[in-house]
């Protein structure tokens, strides 16, 4: 029911929305909960376990009950807290966790069996028979569990990530936060003020009290106006600080467009901020806790502070006859506010015997609510007083069990809050988060005047830490009443008394946990699921701890504290994963010939971040194998070209360049002649192979190293490590030139013929012998030519500055076609290199040393190098290590499988009998057989031996012959020709 003359909503702007298909009106500034309450809708949800009818318990983001589903179709968003979601015109809201509807929910039958479904029910019940778990119990439980549901459709909303920086981050904008922000801002500090709510002001929006001689919310408006005008202040409302991390890093979720209708399509739904703050002031306030009295969960029963929020901020009376129950003076304030607004106060029930009258309404002191009635909403309460029982009719009950300071963020780095006997709650431990000062109610300062002063002081502390001069600021006049509270943790009586409303954990469950020896708070929590709902125990932890303390005969501080972990409020996975969806998951790197390659119909495969052509299908070819076989034959008989720009290229320059390369490679490079290329093997310090590739000497102090595509980043890091950490006195510099050059392999018997049609001056075998390199000119552009081969053919790699990459590729392709050649892809490249026994990272996979690949003689005896000492350990050169061999099927058409293992003929295919494994496989059109490279125990000494290949996964078994890893042209005549 809307109350005339109350609230900070905009009554000029009516907003229509729907709840469960029915249309309602609210005003601008309303949440779903306030608008529904204004329409006398109290039933908003069903609880998780017993499907109990529920209304809102709170008026903020800590809400455990009123969770709803927004929108339908792809944008369907479950578990939205109705107490925090603002309404907008056309908003579609649905209740959840019920069937067929909210009023008649079939699953509420669970409530009748609550005696069976209490704590530990699942653990005890679904144990036997064992086989039932997977087939029967789990599917049923999974179907029954969960609150709202996702649509299952692709999420069309966009989220974003962003970074922000400041001197002082102020978390919360109640009196303490505003005062802290104002002080820091006036002192010239770079300030971010973050507020979880849609409006700045905190409790000042919900209480009837003056600050600086004017209504609190007007003082808020003035402060916000001043802050907005300052360049050094960033105001972030609808922004929840969800986590505190090392070195002043804070995670924050900003709700950008979820409260707007038809927001701009490019606007994100939410932004996940990483805020780096030199200092922070935590002014997150406090949360009022419910009282655990019997049947305290009916719609219409809510915290007293929520009742005041609905009344004072939203102009809504949550009931026509409201009763108030509490153990502290805020209960009186609630009754006074209601009476002043003309709402009937049925009774004020104060558990304290010595409390006096405080307004024009009935008061019962030393009294407790012990029962309630009303299936879908509160109708009546039963009160126990010294004089006996009394029933009172009421459709709303405001309960106040005292305040819990919002210590949550102070726990995120393992800080444990400490118990305060006067406040009857936990307060933050000093210094729990380095650089964070806690102020106001979050620190246990409960009066408005105290909070303002505390915010000011906290700002001073923060400013001192960033060496900022503090401006002359004084806290304004405000309410300064004492906070009087007496313990009231649970009320004895017949019915169940809820602690955790969403997960349906009652005082009985906690006592049962204690009785079954789950006496540690961490055990109790997991046994009962208390604190594991979406509010993460914000409403129930302290109460549950008190009940556990009572049940185990300990004091609260001895029983334990709760550990709050990030996030402070639930964060959507889509928000955490913002920017990393689809193509945004990883950057894409494109070769200069990419567009032409895609146009030619070549499927692209990922190689690291790069995209490389798999094969180039021609008309009539139905499978990749047909294309690949053709491309291999083309290279072997004519000429083929392929883009090899993705291989890492590192410029190594300096007076000590040669010496440095000698140190990182196993073989010598200082002795390499200028204009020549040498194959190099690079080890890790533990003796295993890191990478391989060719290095060319372009000048006396100038080399260019090539790495594998996958190894480029790792090798660069390694070179920098070796230089900076091991030999910093060597005068050498590395610069990646991978991107400077577009490089193409030209391979096949006609490769030189083709090149001579492109190069400005012709080459021959004398001017450009095998392993020669140097500058060449093409179309007047200076490039580089390397006579190297990864196919075993007469081959070159030609490089040109990348801007000409596409043009050169086009020219090479045209000439290749004229010579019966063309492009070849990674599949053909792989076949060509396997036929020739060249290794890749399939072979040098991290557990392979130089000896294993037959390259131990490449470790020069004349010098030290990285990995040399380790490579010489006895175990590293044992004959029976898995060593590189070639393998071919005894019947050529029989398949070989990558990853398959070897067993001796006649031996069982078991782990103990393992003789090795296959690393690379191809069908060789040249040899008309499947071929493989692999590692076999003592392989080089077992040439000609037959061995069983078993692929247990795919069910393939092939008898193979162990052979030399070079299947063709072992003398290298083709390469040198």
């Amino acid at each position: 029911m809307r109350v005339t003359g109350k609230g900070l909503i905009n009554r000029d702007k009516q907003i229509s929305f729907s709840f469960d298909g029915k249309s309602y009106n609210g005003f601008e500034g309303d949440t779903i909960a306030s608008a529904l309450l204004a329409n006398d809708v109290r039933l908003m949800a069903r609880s998780f376990k017993y499907h109990r009818p529920r209304g809102p318990l709170t008026a903020g983001s800590e809400e455990p009950n009123a969770l709803m589903t927004l929108h339908s179709g792809a944008r369907q968003t479950p578990n939205v807290r109705a107490t925090a979601q603002e309404i907008f015109s056309g908003l579609e809201v649905r209740s959840q966790n019920n069937w067929p509807n909210l009023e008649r929910d079939v699953m509420s039958v669970n409530d009748m069996f609550s005696n069976f479904l209490s704590a530990g029910f699942y653990y005890k019940t679904f144990m036997w028979p064992r086989a039932f778990w997977e087939k029967l119990y789990e599917p049923i439980i999974r179907r029954a569990a969960g609150l709202g549901a996702l649509s299952g459709l692709h999420d069309e909303d966009m989220n974003e990530k962003a970074y922000a920086f400041c001197d002082v981050l102020v978390i919360g904008s109640g009196p303490a936060g505003l005062m802290a922000a104002l002080t820091a801002a006036r002192s010239g500090a770079d300030v971010i003020l973050a507020e979880d709510d849609s409006r700045f002001g905190g409790r000042l929006l919900s209480e009837v009290e003056d600050v600086d001689g004017k209504p609190g919310h007007l003082w808020v408006d003035d402060v916000i106006a001043e802050l907005s005008a300052m360049d050094n202040v960033r105001l972030m409302k609808r922004t929840s600080i969800v986590g505190a991390y090392d070195q002043g890093t804070y995670g924050a979720v900003e709700r950008v467009s979820g409260h707007l209708r038809g927001a701009h399509a490019d606007a994100p739904l939410e932004v996940f901020w990483r805020i780096s703050a030199k200092q922070s002031v935590l002014a997150a306030g406090a949360l009022e806790r419910p009282v655990a009295f019997p049947m305290n969960d009916r719609p219409g029963i809510m915290t007293a502070s929520a009742v005041r929020s609905y009344l004072n901020r939203w102009g809504v009376a949550p009931g026509k006859r409201v009763a108030v129950f509490g153990n502290n003076d805020d209960a009186h304030r609630t009754a006074r506010d209601l009476a002043a607004a003309g709402v009937e106060v049925a009774a004020l029930i104060d558990s304290r015997p010595d409390s006096g009258p405080s307004g024009d309404f009935p008061i019962l002191t030393g009294a407790e609510v012990i029962d309630t009635k009303g299936r879908l909403g509160l109708k009546q309460i039963t009160v126990r007083t010294n004089a006996g029982m009394q029933t009172i009719s009421a459709d709303c009950l405001a309960m106040s069990g005292g305040w819990n300071p919002s210590v949550h963020l102070t726990c995120h780095m393992n800080g444990r809050p400490v118990w305060d006997d006067k406040l009857l709650s936990f307060v933050p431990k000093d210094g729990a988060i380095p650089g964070m000062t806690v102020a106001g109610a979050a620190q246990g300062v409960m009066s408005t005047a105290g909070a303002l002063q505390s915010g000011l002081e906290a700002a001073k502390t923060a400013l001192a830490a960033v060496d900022a001069k503090v401006a002359d600021v004084t806290a304004p006049q405000a309410e300064d009443a004492a906070y009087n509270i007496a313990p009231l943790w649970q009320v004895s009586g017949k019915g169940r008394a809820w602690l955790d409303f969403q997960n349906d954990v009652t005082t009985k469950d906690v006592k049962q946990a204690a009785a079954e020896n789950y006496q540690s708070v961490e055990h109790m929590k997991r046994y009962t699921t208390q604190g594991m709902a979406t509010d993460q125990g914000k409403n129930s932890n302290v109460g549950a701890l008190a009940v556990l303390a009572d049940a185990t005969g300990r004091g609260i501080p001895e029983t334990g504290t709760t550990t709050f972990r990030p996030p402070f409020t639930p964060v959507a996975m889509a928000t955490l994963g913002a920017g990393a969806r689809g193509a945004g998951f990883a950057p894409q790197r494109f070769i200069t010939s990419h567009d032409m390659t895609v146009k030619a119909g070549a499927p692209m495969i990922e190689a690291g971040l790069w995209y490389r052509p798999s094969y180039y299908p021609e008309k009539g070819e139905l499978t990749w194998r047909e294309s690949t076989d053709r491309e291999v034959n083309m290279v072997r008989n004519h000429v083929g070209i392929t883009d090899v720009s993705t291989l890492g290229k590192i410029d190594v320059q300096g007076p000590d360049a040669g010496a440095f390369l000698d140190f990182v490679y196993t073989n010598m490079f200082s002795t390499l002649k200028v204009g020549r290329v040498r194959y190099g093997l690079m080890l890790r310090e533990d003796g295993f192979v890191m990478d391989d590739g060719t290095t060319a000497r372009l000048g006396e102090n100038h080399y260019v190293m090539t790495t594998t595509t996958a190894g480029a980043g790792e090798v660069m890091k390694h070179l920098e490590f070796v230089h900076q950490c091991l030999v910093p006195d060597m005068d050498v510099q590395f610069i990646s030139v991978t991107e400077q050059w577009a490089q193409f392999a030209v391979a096949g018997p006609k490769s030189r013929v083709l090149l001579n049609r492109i190069l400005d001056s012709e080459i021959d075998n004398d001017s450009w012998p095998f392993m020669a390199c140097g500058d060449v000119s093409m179309g007047g552009v200076q490039g580089r030519l390397f006579r190297i081969s990864f196919s075993g053919e007469h081959a070159y790699e030609v490089a040109i500055p990348s801007r000409y990459g596409e043009a050169l590729y086009a020219a090479l392709l045209e000439e290749a076609k004229a010579l019966d050649g063309g492009s070849y892809g990674m599949e053909a490249l792989n076949v060509l290199r396997i036929e020739k026994g060249f290794i890749t990272h399939s072979e040098i996979h991290g557990r392979i040393n130089a000896f294993d690949i037959g390259m131990e003689r490449m470790i020069s005896a004349k010098k030290d190098c990285i990995g040399k000492t380790s490579a010489a350990r006895p175990g590293q050169v044992a004959q029976d290590r898995d060593r590189l061999v070639g393998l071919k099927p005894v019947t050529p058409s029989q398949k070989l499988m990558a990853g398959a293992h070897f067993y001796n003929v006649g031996a069982e295919a078991t782990r103990e009998n393992d003789q090795g494994y296959i690393t690379s496989v191809c069908y060789s059109p040249t040899m008309k057989s499947y071929l493989a490279l692999g590692f076999v125990k003592n392989g080089p000494n077992r040439m000609g031996e037959k061995i069983r290949m078993v692929d247990a996964l795919r069910g393939v078994e092939t008898l193979c012959e162990i052979c030399h890893p070079v299947f063709m042209d072992q003398e290298g005549e083709k390469t040198r020709g």
Binding site: D231, H264, P268, G584, Q740, G779, I800, Y804, G805, A807
Partner: protein, 182 residues
């Protein structure tokens, strides 16, 4: 003689604009990595002053203007934009032509720092990052060099092969920032 046509890294990708921010490709005459050998920085600086009118830049700084600029590019390394460096410089420094290795983009407009705040984990607001400041950092998921070359004006360099993704990421952030101010 074969006719080779040049293509810039962002050809067909730029220019783009959204809201008050524009993204354009820059075409410096040449990009040259200059990494001075041991104790040669002063001589390198002198050489650059002759050829480009700029000194070797201090850490996190860029010197010069469009046409001739030296940007600190990492430990012991500068990127010289503009004409060719002296042939003799190879005696003093590792000199590497990088003219084709990097895509150079310019992000300009009142909200350009807000756009970068969505992609770059470094504070680039004008109060802390002004003309002549440069950083090596990350742009979304890729290595980048970002230099403030004027008020609300940044030169962003990413490796050439990343150009398409960089433009996509920048454009998405530009559009989002533009949408927020509507």
């Amino acid at each position: 003689m074969v006719n080779l046509v040049a293509k810039s890294p962002c050809a067909a990708l730029l220019p783009l604009s959204a809201g008050n921010v524009t993204l354009t490709e820059q075409h410096p005459d040449a990009l040259t990595s200059v990494a001075p050998f041991a104790e040669k920085e002063v001589e390198v600086s002198a050489s650059l002053t002759v050829t480009h009118g700029v000194a070797y830049p201090a850490v996190n700084h860029a010197v010069g203007k469009d046409g001739a600029r030296a940007i600190w590019f990492g430990q012991g390394q500068a990127m010289v934009m503009g004409g060719k460096v002296s042939d003799d410089l190879v005696q003093l420094a590792a000199v590497t032509d990088q003219s084709d290795a990097w895509a150079v983009m310019r992000l300009q407009g009142a909200s350009s720092a807000d756009v970068l705040a969505r992609l770059v984990p470094v504070d680039l607001r004008s109060s802390v990052f002004a003309e002549g400041d440069t950083v090596r950092t990350e742009l979304q998921h890729m290595m980048a060099s970002i230099t403030c070359v004027g008020t609300d004006c940044f030169d962003i360099m990413v490796m050439r092969s990343f150009a398409k993704t960089a433009v996509h990421d920048l454009h998405a952030a530009m559009k989002s920032v533009a949408a927020l101010s509507i």
